[in-house]
């Protein structure tokens, strides 16, 4: 169970595919228009329940409980070997030591 007052993240469908704008590419037309938002859980709940949250501006939103205590997961990515080659090219070009 996730306690009332926990900071959580919910997901909500705002518009079903048939409620969306008429002016959309085919692929987008087929999928719902959704929202993710964070806030404080209003009542105790379990993951995937439909819940209400209070956002930091004091608004109430409802949606499916997807995550409690949501961390930031974005990072500096994977090792990209091409970056080393890129550097090599720039240094060689700039220093002119590639026997041009």
């Amino acid at each position: 169970m996730i306690n009332k007052g926990t900071y959580v993240r919910i997901r909500k469908t705002i518009l079903k595919p048939n409620e969306r704008s008429n002016n959309l590419p085919e692929d987008t037309k087929k999928v719902p228009f959704k929202m993710w938002i964070k806030g404080y859980l209003v009542e105790d709940a379990d993951l995937f329940d439909i819940v209400s949250i209070k956002t930091v501006t004091g608004r109430i939103e409802t949606g499916r409980l997807k995550e409690a205590s949501p961390p930031y997961k974005h990072s500096y990515g994977d090792f990209i070997p091409e970056m080393l080659k890129l550097r090599e090219i720039i240094y060689k070009d700039f220093r002119g030591d590639n026997n041009e």
């Binding site: 409620e19 704008s21 692929d27 501006t57 990515g77 091409e82 550097r87 090219i89």
Partner: protein, 460 residues
């Protein structure tokens, strides 16, 4: 109140009017046009007032640096006597890390002045962080609405970072899936909260950038004794270019060429769920740059104050691989680690400088902060995970959404012109079947920076 898509869209004019505190009907002319200059000058913000508001908020007066190593690098590929001096305005030094703070400073000031309790802005970019930071300083509530993820719930790393930054300043971040219905959600939130709509396209959103043009003109003149020959501006919604150009002209730099630069994303549909995560640039690209240039009033206000074709002398594209290449060059040759998207104009300048005299000066008018998510490594990692091939070769052969091609040497980093008259013709298409008055033709001539005869020729 009925909140179906259509009924809310039908109420959009009244909702927007209330949320920007501005009656646009005042500026409408008979026929198709409106009085752009009156709209811009009618809001009580002259350049000195703007400078004062900004400097009190840690905005503006950013360093102008000469990129001596990058200039030397570009000259390697220039004919004798060519290779302009490249200068860079380090806009990452603004509060919140980008030039967008200039725009936000005025919008938030106006919201406060008019007594709104909070501000709301629809943006997946640096503008969100800028509005959030300045709202925090003014004690206003803030909601940022982002287009963020596709139907698989996968989000661009760059946008996740911007969400984090907004939250760091205490803002609420509403994240949406791909689609133009973002505007629907924005309207719904405005109606619910009665917050000020800190749109990127109001006169405040544009006038805030005029100081940037001013600083560039004055700083370059002080350092070198003359105004720059060219300023390159990364172009998306057109505001950056409009505001910078207006500032340059106001400072007297009337002969300085204003060159727009965008990342080439031809072939990717901006409202496509499938295409959304196949690009490595979420702004500064042709997918925004071209539609907003040829139809500025597609924005979230009745009359956009961002009207790039009024000021643009030339418009060039560079590819994604070239911008990443220059981002790395800026770090390892100049010691400046800055966010990729803002370096679009730098990549263009590297190539453009080679076509200019070595006594000329070309200014890259912005940088932006970099960080986790919003950085070459996560953005390339993300592209690879979304089946985009990473290769070396001629960057002009890059196919957006399929490949990212890094130049296999600096000589291959080239810009490509977008024909100004093609843009103008597209702009004019919507007026083809309308009987136009002399005043209408004058409006179109002003909009497109050409004379009435040229307008008529392009409409044939």
């Amino acid at each position: 109140m009925n909140n179906t898509y259509q009924s809310l869209m039908d109420r959009k004019n009244e909702i927007i009017k209330k949320s920007v505190g501005l009656d646009y009907s005042k500026y409408e002319l008979e026929g198709i046009g409106f009085d752009f200059e009156l709209m811009m000058n009618d809001q009580g913000y002259d350049i000195e007032t703007i400078k004062k508001i900004q400097s009190e908020n840690m905005v503006g007066n950013t360093p102008l640096v000469e990129l001596k190593n990058i200039t030397k690098y570009a000259r390697k590929y220039s004919k004798p006597g060519f290779g302009a001096r490249i200068f860079l305005k380090d806009e990452a030094a603004n509060i919140s890390g980008s030039f967008k703070a200039r725009r936000a400073a005025l919008s938030v000031n106006q919201a406060k002045r008019l007594g709104y309790k909070g501000v709301i802005a629809a943006t997946s970019g640096n503008y969100g962080a800028a509005v959030a930071a300045l709202a925090a300083k003014e004690g206003l509530e803030c909601i940022i609405v982002q287009e963020c993820f596709d139907s698989r719930n996968v989000c661009q790393p760059e946008i996740l970072e911007k969400a984090r930054k907004c939250e760091a300043y205490g803002a609420e971040v509403v994240q949406l899936s791909v689609g133009p219905e973002l505007f629907y959600s924005l309207l719904k939130l405005i109606e619910e909260t009665n917050y000020f709509n800190a749109s990127l396209y109001t006169p405040y959103g544009i006038k805030g950038i005029e100081t940037l043009g001013h600083e560039i003109a004055n700083d370059v003149k002080e350092l070198t004794g003359k105004f720059p020959e060219a300023v390159v501006v990364t172009n998306a919604g057109g505001g950056n270019l409009t505001g910078t150009a207006r500032g340059l002209k106001d400072a007297g730099a009337v002969d300085t060429l204003v060159i727009g630069a965008s990342v080439n994303l031809y072939g990717l549909h901006m409202a496509s769920d499938n295409d959304f995560n196949r690009k490595s640039f979420t702004t500064g690209h042709t997918g925004f740059g071209i539609p907003f240039a040829v139809f500025p009033d597609r924005s979230d206000v009745p009359r956009s104050a961002a009207r790039p074709l009024r000021y643009m002398d030339r418009y060039v594209m560079v590819n994604q691989g070239s911008v990443f290449f220059m981002t790395e060059t800026l770090a390892i040759l100049e010691g400046m680690e800055r966010g990729p998207a803002g370096n679009t104009s730098l990549a263009a300048a590297f190539s453009l400088a080679q076509t200019m005299k070595d006594t000329d000066i070309i200014v890259v008018q912005e940088t932006e902060y970099t960080g986790a998510g919003k950085h070459i490594l996560p953005q390339i990692s993300f592209a690879r995970k979304n089946d985009v091939e990473i290769a070396f070769g001629n960057p002009l052969s890059e196919v957006p959404g399929k490949t990212i091609i890094f130049p296999s040497d600096g000589s291959l980093l080239k810009h490509k012109d977008i024909e100004m008259n093609d843009l103008r013709k597209t702009y004019l298409k919507r007026y083809k079947d309308i009987e136009l008055s002399a005043q209408d033709y004058q409006f179109l001539a002003d909009e497109l920076k050409i004379n009435i005869e040229e307008v008529k020729d392009l409409m044939k």
